[in-house]
C-alpha cells in the first residue's frame, strides 16, 4: 500500500521538520546535525530493544513505548550538552554555526560507526506492532503506520499545548518576538535558547524512534533524511505549525506516489521541481514566516 508507506514517511518528516523549525524559528540556528539526532533516537530504540530482549524478555511487548520516551530524553539531553558546549558561543554567527553543526554531524556519524558498526541495525519490534488491519479484502492497513501516525499527532498536539499553555512556552514566544525586552522583563533568554535547542533535538529523537518502524538504522540514516527535512521547512515556512504539517504531508505523499509511478529517484526529482517552482513564486514558503532578526 503505497499511500500508507507515505503516512509513515510523513510522520518522520513532520517530526524532523518540527524540531528543525522550532530551533531555526526561535533561535535562527540552522542545525545541520539534526539528522544525526534522529539517528541517535533510532539507535536508542535499537539499544533498548537489545537490552530488553537480552535481560528482560518479559517486557518485550511494551518496551517500544518506553523506548520512544528514552529516545526523546537521550536526544534532548545530548542537544542540551551541544548547546551548552558549542552553539551558545556562535549566536549571531550563522556561517560558523553551519560549519560547527556540520562538523558535529560528522563526529556523531563516526561515533555511531565506532559504537554500532557500519552495518545497519534493526530493533526487534513488538509483535502487536507488526500486524495489519484488514477492514476489507483489498485494504491492508499496517498497524505500525497507524501507531506512528498517532504518535506524531499526539506529539504535535503536545508541542502546541506546550507552546501555548506552559510558562516556558510563553517565554519562548516572548523571546522570539523581542529578545532584549524579554531579558529586561526577567526572562533568562539563554536558558530559553538551551531549552529550545534541546526540545528540537528531542523531537528529532522521537522521529528516529518512528523511523525504526519503516527502515533500518545506519550511521548515515540521518543525513539521508536531512535534505528532505530542509525541503519541508523551506516549503512550509517556519512560522506556522499548519504550514509545516501541510508541507510534510505534501512532500511525503508526493514522493511516495510519484516513486510508485516514476520509479526511484525520479519521484524525488519531480517533487523537487514542484518545490522549486513554488518557491520561485513564494520565496517565503507556502506560509509566511517570521524569524528572529
Amino acid at each position: 500500500m503505497q499511500s500508507f508507506a507515505g503516512f509513515s514517511l510523513f510522520s518522520v518528516l513532520l517530526l524532523m521538520a518540527l524540531g528543525l523549525a522550532i530551533i531555526f524559528g526561535q533561535m535562527g540556528v540552522v542545525n545541520l546535525a539534526h539528522g544525526e539526532f534522529m539517528a541517535l533516537g533510532a539507535y536508542t530504540v535499537y539499544l533498548s530493544s537489545t537490552v530488553v530482549h537480552t535481560y528482560l524478555p518479559a517486557l518485550a511487548p511494551y518496551y517500544f513505548v518506553i523506548a520512544i520516551v528514552i529516545a526523546f530524553l537521550v536526544a534532548g539531553l545530548t542537544g542540551w550538552l551541544v548547546e551548552w558546549s558549542l552553539i551558545r558561543f556562535l549566536y549571531k554567527r550563522p556561517l560558523d554555526t553551519l560549519l560547527a553543526t556540520w562538523g558535529l554531524s560528522l563526529i556523531m556519524q563516526q561515533s555511531f560507526r565506532s559504537i554500532f558498526g557500519a552495518r545497519e541495525v534493526t530493533p526487534t519490534l513488538p509483535e502487536w506492532l507488526m500486524g495489519s488491519f484488514k477492514p476489507s479484502e483489498s485494504i491492508d492497513i499496517p498497524i505500525n503506520g497507524v501507531f506512528v501516525m498517532g504518535l506524531t499527532l499526539a506529539l504535535t498536539l503536545g508541542i502546541w499545548l506546550f507552546m501555548y499553555r506552559s510558562r516556558i512556552g510563553l517565554q519562548m514566544r516572548a523571546t522570539v518576538q523581542n529578545r532584549v525586552m524579554s531579558g529586561a522583563a526577567g526572562i533568562n533568554t539563554r536558558l530559553v535558547d538551551r531549552f529550545t535547542f534541546s526540545l528540537g533535538c528531542g523531537i528529532a529523537g522521537v522521529a528516529g524512534a518512528a523511523f525504526t518502524t519503516i527502515g533500518s538504522t545506519g550511521p548515515d540514516s540521518g543525513s539521508r533524511y536531512i535534505v528532505d527535512t530542509f525541503l519541508v521547512v523551506v516549503f512550509g515556512g517556519t512560522a506556522s505549525l499548519m504550514g509545516t504539517i501541510a508541507s510534510a504531508f505534501g512532500i511525503a505523499q508526493g514522493q511516495s506516489i510519484l516513486e510508485f509511478f516514476l520509479k526511484g529517484t525520479m519521484g524525488k526529482v519531480a517533487v523537487l521541481m514542484v518545490i522549486v517552482l513554488v518557491l520561485m513564486i513564494r520565496p517565503q514558503g507556502l506560509f509566511a514566516s517570521k524569524i528572529r532578526s
Partner: protein
C-alpha cells in the same frame, strides 16, 4: 535603595553617561528630566543591564548588580518600563503580564494589577499589538510590577500618550508607591507630569546632572528653562 556611583556608559567609541553619581531613597519618586539625546535612555538601559557599563557601581540595597545579566537584575528587584513600551505585540494582554512573573501568580496579584489598571482586565484576551498607546503603557507597567520590584524604572512613560491617560498614569505611580512602599525612577520631558508625581528631580544634560531640587524647592519654570534649548 539604589546607589549609583561613578557610572560611565557609552556606545563604541563615544561616551554618553559620564561618571554619574546619584542615589534613590526608599519610597522615593525621583524624576530625571532632560531633552532628547541627553542620555536618559542610555542611563536607564545600563541600570537594567541592556547596555553594559564601562565603569562604576550600581548597588541595589547592598547588592552590586552592575555585573549581572538583565534577568538577574530583575530577580534582584529592579523592573523596567522602556521607552516606547516594548510590549510583545503577538502575545495577549495577560500573557504579556505573565512574561514578567517568575513562578505561579497568585489570584491576589492579578486582582491588584487589574484594580490598578481596570482596562487591562477588560482587554486581557486581546493581543498586545491591538492596544492603544496609553493601554500599552499601562500594560508595560503591569508587566514590570508583576515581578514585585523594589525599584521601578520608567523611561518617558508619557511620550505619545493622551493627556487624560497621562493623569491616570501619574495617579497609578503614586498609588503603586504608597501601596507597595517601593522606590521609582522616572525620566521625563513633560514638566507638569513631573510636578505631579515626583519627590525630587534631577536635570540631565549631555550625560551629567546639572541641577537637583527637592519637591518643595522645585520650580516648574526653572526646570522648563533648564530643559529649553
Amino acid at each position: 535603595m539604589l546607589t549609583v556611583s561613578n557610572l560611565t556608559v557609552g556606545y563604541g567609541q563615544s561616551r554618553v553617561i559620564h561618571e554619574m553619581n546619584f542615589s534613590l531613597r526608599a519610597e522615593e519618586i525621583l524624576a530625571i528630566m532632560g531633552r532628547n539625546g541627553m542620555g536618559k535612555t542610555t542611563l536607564l538601559k545600563s541600570l537594567i543591564g541592556i547596555l553594559p557599563s564601562r565603569q562604576g557601581s550600581i548597588l541595589l540595597g547592598d547588592k552590586e548588580i552592575s555585573g549581572l545579566a538583565s534577568h538577574e537584575r530583575v530577580r534582584s528587584g529592579i523592573a523596567f518600563v522602556p521607552q516606547g513600551r516594548m510590549i510583545f505585540p503577538a502575545l495577549t494582554v495577560s500573557e504579556n503580564i505573565l512574561t514578567g512573573a517568575r513562578g505561579p501568580v497568585e489570584k491576589s496579584a492579578w486582582d491588584e494589577i487589574y484594580a490598578l489598571f481596570p482596562i487591562l482586565h477588560e482587554m486581557r484576551k486581546r493581543k498586545g499589538g491591538n492596544l492603544s498607546g496609553g493601554q500599552q503603557q499601562q500594560l508595560a507597567i503591569a508587566r514590570a510590577l508583576i515581578s514585585n520590584p523594589k525599584v521601578l524604572v520608567l523611561d518617558e512613560p508619557t511620550e505619545g500618550i493622551q493627556p487624560s491617560i497621562i493623569k491616570d498614569i501619574a495617579r497609578a505611580l503614586r498609588q503603586i508607591r504608597s501601596a507597595r512602599k517601593i522606590a521609582i525612577i522616572v525620566t521625563e520631558q513633560v514638566v507638569s507630569f513631573m510636578m505631579d508625581v515626583c519627590d525630587r528631580a534631577l536635570v540631565i544634560e549631555r550625560g551629567r546632572f546639572v541641577h537637583e531640587a527637592p519637591r518643595e524647592g522645585l520650580s516648574a519654570d526653572q526646570v522648563r528653562s533648564l530643559l529649553a534649548v
